[in-house]
């Protein structure tokens, strides 16, 4: 029992961190823009394949190329596709659905539809914490994720741009009134989001495998954490991701793995209905 509790706590925190860095970009751009960018999880998948394809040539330096590369890709995506229509959430939603499906078809053309496990870990041993065996690489992922989240939180509270991102109400017009260049801020958030997506893809894909379909579940996770935490709030993401991570592992460990998705989704739906602003976020919609 004790061992199980330890297991739930540790694994929950690790997954929370991975889910968290996957969600940051999504939640912040959506909070800033008041729209949903469904293409982001597709870029998560693209990032994972970039890592798989480049690592034979770049080895341990892969992430140094892929992370900024994916960041730039996301910025380009924003400038090309989102910016022209960012005032219309429905257009963004529809355009990004089509884009995400197109990206999946394109990737499926070039890559097998199976799973690939070719992301080499930095660390390969196991650690034993209170009788729970954990892979070092996974612990590293969890740690990196939490450092990134706390770092981002620090930046967002202590720099002008950060404060702007957090402080901007959803209304883009509102922020223009107070003299901020919204396009620049959104582009920066897309860039940061892209870098974190790459980081998430490295650990998540390395642990669970990479496939062209690996954006569907992340999309659900992004939606759920954004919902539970509240749109565009880093504190919200941190709270929600821990909640989701723990709940997920706890349901699997203590109750019935088959209702994992149902429990988490029900939580998200209930929060949306009864507390639409999420646990720590701004009111949405």
């Amino acid at each position: 029992m004790f061992e199980n509790v330890v297991y739930v706590i540790i694994y929950g925190l690790i997954f929370a961190s991975l889910y968290g860095i996957m969600t940051v970009g999504f939640s912040l751009v959506c909070g800033l823009g008041g729209f949903f960018d469904i293409a982001l999880p597709a870029y998560f998948m693209v990032g994972a394949f970039m890592i798989v394809e480049l690592s034979p040539y770049l080895g341990n330096g892969t992430m140094l190329i892929v992370a900024p590369g994916l960041g730039l890709l996301c910025v380009a995506h924003y400038l090309l596709f989102i910016r022209p229509q960012r005032d219309n959430p429905y257009r963004v939603f529809f355009a990004t659905i089509l884009l995400a499906l197109g990206v999946e078809s394109l990737m499926a053309k070039f890559f097998s539809s199976g799973y690939t496990f070719k992301i080499a870990p930095l660390l390969s041993g196991n650690v034993n914490i209170f009788d729970v065996e954990i892979r070092q690489q996974l612990l590293l992922g969890g740690a990196v994720g939490w450092i990134a989240l706390f770092g981002l939180r620090y930046i967002s509270h202590n720099t002008n741009i950060g404060r702007a991102v957090i402080g901007i109400p959803q209304s883009v017009r509102g922020s223009q009134v107070i003299g901020l260049d919204v396009v620049r801020i959104q582009a920066i958030v897309y860039g940061v989001g892209g870098v974190l997506l790459a980081l998430g893809a490295y650990f998540y894909g390395g642990y669970l495998g990479v496939s062209v379909h690996m954006w569907a579940y992340p999309l659900v996770i992004m939606f759920t954490i954004t919902t539970v935490g509240g749109l565009g709030s880093i504190n919200g993401i941190m709270i929600a991701t821990v909640l989701v991570g723990w709940l997920e592992v706890a349901v699997v460990t203590f109750i019935d793995p088959r209702i994992r998705a149902f429990v988490i989704l029900s939580l998200a739906i209930a929060i949306l209905i009864f507390r639409p602003r999420g646990l720590a976020g701004k009111r949405i919609g």
Binding site: L101, S105, G114, Y115, T116, F117, H213, L219, V220, P257
Partner: protein
């Protein structure tokens, strides 16, 4: 079945299910589109709409005249599954035509028509094939699609429908209940009880070799594994196994390590897996996590060589039912087929998967039935197909004949044997032995793999070798403990 005293229980249970007209089980392996559960391959279905075309009338005709035999092909063609129908058909039919065809008639392939694993597309695909006047349809889609096609199959009993993939006995029950309507429906694929015994048999072998008897089952949350869990509970204890746990894993599972952990904590010495959809994940995560428990089972997807390459041979503790016996011990015909495939195609699927062999068998069976009947007239061909018998077949296809009871007879068993089995339940034992020959293969580092293990010509052989470990007739080597195993796991 395998043991006289418990058979009645199982029978009554089964008969309740089957006579109730309820599908017993289902296998939907390799639905790579992701997961039939939650956020399943958003994309796969979407384009699904892009339907092909359909047929004008509801009652198809066979277009039974002329000098060609038309064989229609449908399935998810963007997927290894569809390719496992198309490629064997193309390879074999080229040969058959070159040799003068079947009873002097050339064979023409119609299609392939993509169904995208999707019901609406499957219907248009099926009706398009009917419109083209095909005599036979080879279909490689899952139970889901087959569920949708059933009512149309029943409308067109004159067109033979050979199912290469969907294996739910419940579908076949339709044949028994309304033979005239469904007589053209054949399931040229393994049936569920066979899948159970092809895991139990090697388990017995390992028990004798290592003394393991604590068995743990991980099954995916699908209908077909429900029935298998029941077999497990009924049969394994009688074979001297102690069931230490069963995990039912949702289809949208991402992380399988909790289940490995459960098994470890339960003191399992072997994990039996019944997985189709997420077999790749299972094997890789087991390898990645260095799970020190022998693991084997039905993981259809893992048979493809492309997978082994992609995963850097992440095979370790896994052994899996496959269509590959050790090459040297296989029939020359099948060996040639494998070799030809491997040297012809460089993209996925690099080698035939399980349903690839089903298609191979299916076409052979059709060819032989037509030759025996001397005509392509449907009823005569059906009569001959029902007599199909391959004692060496690794995979058991199944079909009901007129008036048959609970058990379908299979192509691994002559029809008169099935008749006798009905009369004398105790005969069931031998009967089912012969239908459960799916070999177990294991990946082993080439340094320790035996010389006659499965190495295809042209294989770079970087990742090791496939070794058939069961059944004895095909075995090329013995089960090897993965390097990270403790000397004597939990024993």
């Amino acid at each position: 079945m395998r043991s006289g005293e418990k058979k009645p229980d199982l029978d009554s249970d089964l008969s309740k299910r089957l006579l109730g007209g309820r599908p017993l089980s289902r296998r939907q392996f390799l639905k790579t589109a992701g997961v039939a559960g939650a956020a399943i391959g958003l994309g796969t279905g979407v384009g699904g709409l892009l339907a092909g075309c359909g047929d004008g009338g509801s009652s198809g005709t066979t277009g039974a005249s002329g000098d060609v035999i038309k064989i229609g092909i449908m399935g998810p063609m963007a997927d290894p599954t569809g390719m496992n129908v198309l490629r064997p058909a193309e390879m074999m039919i080229k040969k058959i035509n070159a040799a003068g065809g079947i009873i002097g008639k050339q064979i023409e392939i119609v299609g392939p028509i993509d169904d995208h694993w999707e019901t609406a597309q499957a219907i248009t695909a099926y009706e398009t094939l009917l419109k083209e006047g095909v005599h036979v349809i080879l279909s490689g889609s899952d139970d889901n699609v087959e569920s949708a096609l059933l009512s149309r199959i029943g409308q067109n009993p004159d067109v033979l429908y050979l199912s290469m993939f969907a294996s739910t006995q419940g579908h076949m029950v339709n044949v028994r209940d309304d033979y005239e309507k469904f007589k053209g429906y054949f399931m040229f694929t393994a049936i569920d009880d066979g899948l159970y015994y092809c895991v139990e048999e090697p388990a017995i072998m390992l028990k004798e070799k290592f003394g393991w008897n604590k068995a743990y089952m991980i099954r995916e949350d699908m209908v077909w594994t429900e029935g298998i869990e029941q077999y497990f509970k009924d049969s394994a204890p009688q074979k001297g196994f102690e069931i230490v746990g069963i995990d039912v894993v949702p289809l949208d599972v991402e992380d399988l390590t909790p289940y490995f952990r459960n098994a470890e904590k339960a003191g399992a010495q072997m994990i039996w897996t019944m997985i189709s959809v997420f077999g790749e994940k299972l094997a890789n995560q087991a390898w990645d996590s260095k799970v020190p428990i022998a693991m084997f089972g039905h993981n259809g997807i893992l048979n493809d060589y492309g997978y082994w390459e992609r995963s850097n041979g992440a095979w370790g503790p896994m052994a899996t039912t496959s269509t590959w016996g050790s090459l040297e011990k296989h029939s020359p015909e099948w060996r040639d087929f494998l070799t030809e495939w491997f040297t012809t195609y460089s993209d996925d699927p690099r080698t035939p998967m399980w349903l690839g062999e089903c298609t191979w068998r299916g076409i052979k069976a059709y060819q032989e039935a037509v030759e025996r009947a001397g005509t392509i007239e449907t009823d005569a061909v059906i009569k001959e197909l029902e007599m199909t018998y391959y004692p060496d077949a690794p995979v058991a296809g199944g079909f009901y004949g007129p008036g048959e009871g609970i058990w379908p007879h299979t192509w691994a068993m002559p029809i008169d044997e099935a008749e006798r089995a009905k009369a004398d339940p105790t005969r069931g034992e031998g009967l089912w032995m012969s239908s459960t020959l799916n070999p177990m293969t294991q990946w082993q580092p080439k340094e320790i793999a035996p010389a006659d293990s499965f190495v295809l010509p042209g294989t770079p052989d970087d990742y090791g070798r496939l070794v058939t470990i069961w059944p004895p007739a095909l075995a090329g080597g013995e089960y090897q403990l993965p390097p990270f195993f403790p000397e004597s796991p939990n024993a």
